[in-house]
Homo-oligomer: 487 residues x 2
């Protein structure tokens, strides 16, 4: 063994990285394969164990492999696809526009509840069995303990115990101080967004959104008679802050409606530094930020970024959270951390829906307090990651080479750019006819951009049906791509 | 015995009616007292048993007595108060105005959730123990049967089984045909009103309301930036149709937001004939009717009036229902029968809150299907009636003579006109300080009329605290009335 100088160590360590990288690229090492042990690799190629370890750790940082405790290093699914990424070019800035494309959104939505559809259309982590078991246990205890009360009205702002649990969780996981009195419980994240928007803007006002952005935000903006303006968004960094500044200077924007963590569909999370700058910009321009943070707990590595609200000095940020993506979608329990707007928020909550379901609130408070929520999330995140890697791997195998995909680091959706000429609405129609639901790119923009993009959910338990669905989609995209070349 | 001719029979029968009436008026017969048996009365005054029976039945029709199966005839509480009624004079018609008085509404609302308050402020039939038991049984069955599904998203329009049960109930109880597909499940009656309003009107539009009307409607109109116009309302007949026609001719009203059955706070129900005319008028004027029917099942006599929607030929009526007043307020499950507006309603529902809680929907569907809902309502109605009569009796005993009250025939609220010079907001402040919540009249009008009215709820299980609360209020109103005479 050599390893005399730092330089040669560096050289050997790079050699290990390249060796593993080449084997992944060639397909010798496939997603999920275990790398040779440190000892064996050291023996095999004549490099010290610390150097191999250093190389493996660097490969992990590069997201090509991952370590599993007491087990070793494994190839990550997305490593095989590292270059198959969306390019920033598709982020756009525009003029304020009314939202269009509702009829397509309606058709996408209708397909979600067809029980026999292969469910790529809904951004819902549906691996719910352990959560259901624990929630049912908690609910039965509540029903026994508070028989009458559990069917009564909750207070407008929500059950005090749940608000305290949510505040405690902010403190415990990210050191963020939130007053329970500043939290208003809502009917899921969607009502949180509704109440936040209605608290700070009204009909005719201009709302800035990411491009692309979650179609549910666009439908909401449309229902309230507001206008949307798209802000350029980059798949690595999130909202482009220079574009945002230009937009805020040029247009009378009333509020920004952004997702700072695991944006939907891009899956991008802003860095702390960029969150801070974002808040500075909106507060300088006297604009509100409504922060959709419903995926905040779903980064695969368990890291929970701090909401942008933590950087607010003037209370102009409202943060929307939800248990729909992390525990029980059907409970319809979300919340708003309302900053300066809490009184207005509570008033609108009362007039819009009185209060939210009490039994579910009591149940979730217990689910959080007894640790079941954390246990479930610790099970859910790696399960979602595994699904993401499998999907990535199948997309790279069955979709045409020109397909580009996001590399999910959390959440339950992947964003795909299809080869030029493939129309996602046409693909949607054919997929529905074949029993497969997808979300066509059109609905992620107020004016139907992204017509050759689709969003696929990997939130459902993996199955042969899911694999067959991906194969079918890949083949169909291939056909459509070829047809478009002949036309 | 005489009774030779029909004329003399008629005379004798009137004699019995007068005799009983006088004894009730004088206080010899008190609410809850049993009338002399038919046989005894026949013997006592020398009139045939059939004539006495005929007189008792007429007294029942006049709501002075009630028959109890296998037991006899009993004096009704409100009979003692038959003249203590609000006069029609307080119904008003106005110009369109923005809603004011939100800060008082807020204080009223805050007091509702203070656990130690004597709860006269909330219109909630809270005799929930039997409902809670049956609902919990149903919910446990659902959780066992559909473990995973029960925490999943419901479809936007609601769970098909519950929509079918609601439609079936319209057919079964009143012969009204409603398509399950025309029903959208909502987060309680309040969200039904929100979605209905947002479907047919927008910011700046004028909405006609009864005078007085439910404060939750006024808060909603305010939150949506709409204007309210009051329509004269009579405590015997409901909305005055001639006033309505004048209002619709003079002002650009977009929708009427009325309660046709057991309006809140007046407690009046329109006749079928007046409902038909109401629908004719609004459809002639090309205006929508949003019908708040959340008390439709709570007439003490079990009669369920047909919603005005049944008379609609042009689909311009939307009917809002709810299980909050009849089963489980905390479940937050209501519905809209949406007429022509179903597509718009479903779109707004999706963008406002995605869908409503699935577990509660499945539970209520089972609660309806297995007959528990009817069993509970059959228990609830007489319990509410008994409370209404007790409250009526105590009000007539402890409040100043000049107090006038509504005579509830259903629901859970009584509307009181206090003597001139008594300010309901001042009374509210003093009552809160004494641990008693009431709803001051101001909040039942967009511009704070009804400042000498209050609304009292009799929906809670009767108790000494409730009696003491009524005595306290009566005394305090007496003092305030005297003070105002000296000033």
């Amino acid at each position: 063994m050599l390893e005399a100088s730092a330089e040669s160590t560096n050289y050997l360590y790079r050699q290990v990285i390249d060796l593993i990288g080449e084997n992944i690229d060639s397909g010798t090492l496939k997603p999920g394969d275990r790398l040779p042990s440190l000892r064996r690799m050291s023996t095999n190629i004549g490099v010290s164990i610390p150097t191999v370890r250093k190389a493996y750790i660097e490969l992990e940082r590069l997201r090509r492999v991952e370590s599993r405790p007491q087990s070793g290093f494994y190839v990550r699914g997305m490593a095989a696809n590292a270059l198959v990424k969306p390019s920033p070019k598709f982020g756009r800035s525009t003029q304020p526009v009314p939202v269009t494309g509702q009829s397509l959104m309606e058709r996408v939505n209708d397909a979600l509840y067809e029980p026999d559809m292969v469910p790529f259309g809904i951004a819902n982590p549906c691996m719910t069995r352990p959560a259901a078991k624990a929630l049912h246990r908690a609910m039965k205890r509540i029903m026994a303990r508070a028989e009458n009360r559990s069917i009564s009205y909750a207070p407008t702002r929500g059950e005090a115990g749940l608000r305290r649990q949510i505040a405690y969780r902010y403190l415990d996981t990210i050191g963020m101080t939130v007053e329970p009195e500043n939290i208003c419980i809502t009917n899921g994240g969607q009502e949180a967004l509704l109440i936040a928007l209605q608290s700070v803007a009204s009909k005719g006002d201009v709302i800035a959104v990411e491009s692309p952005t979650y179609h549910g935000l666009l439908e909401l903006i449309d229902s309230l008679g507001m206008l949307a303006i798209e802000v350029e968004t980059c798949p690595e960094d999130g909202v482009m802050l220079d574009s945002l500044e230009k937009t805020l200077s040029a247009h009378p924007v009333k509020a920004c409606l952004f997702s700072t963590t695991l944006s939907n569909p891009l899956g991008v999370s802003m860095t702390d530094d960029r969150r801070r700058k974002l808040v500075q910009i909106i507060e300088q321009h006297d604009v509100c930020l409504i922060e959709d943070d419903v995926y905040g707990e779903l980064l695969f590595d368990g890291h929970r970024p701090k909401p942008a609200q933590i950087h607010s000095t003037r209370g102009r940020v409202l943060t929307c959270g939800s248990f729909s993506k992390t525990a029980a979608p059907g409970y319809r329990i979300g919340w708003l951390v309302a900053g300066n707007y809490i009184d207005q928020v509570a008033k609108i909550k009362r007039s819009f829906s009185c209060s939210s379901g009490l039994l579910q609130q009591l149940t979730l408070a217990e689910f959080l307090a007894n640790g079941d929520y954390d246990r479930y999330l610790n099970m859910l995140r790696p399960a979602l990651q595994c699904n993401a890697e499998r999907m990535q791997s199948l997309v790279s195998r069955y979709f045409p080479k020109a397909t580009r995909t996001s590399c999910p680091v959390g959440g339950s959706v992947m964003w795909l750019e299809l080869p030029n000429g493939v129309d996602a609405e046409k693909l949607f129609d054919e997929a529905i006819a074949a029993g497969i639901s997808i979300a066509p790119g059109h609905i992620f923009s107020p004016c139907n951009r992204y017509s050759n993009f689709i969003r696929l959910s990997f939130g459902h338990p993996w199955s042969e049906r899911i694999e067959d669905g991906l194969k079918w989609l890949g083949r169909k995209v291939g056909e459509m791509s070829k047809q478009s070349q002949y036309n």
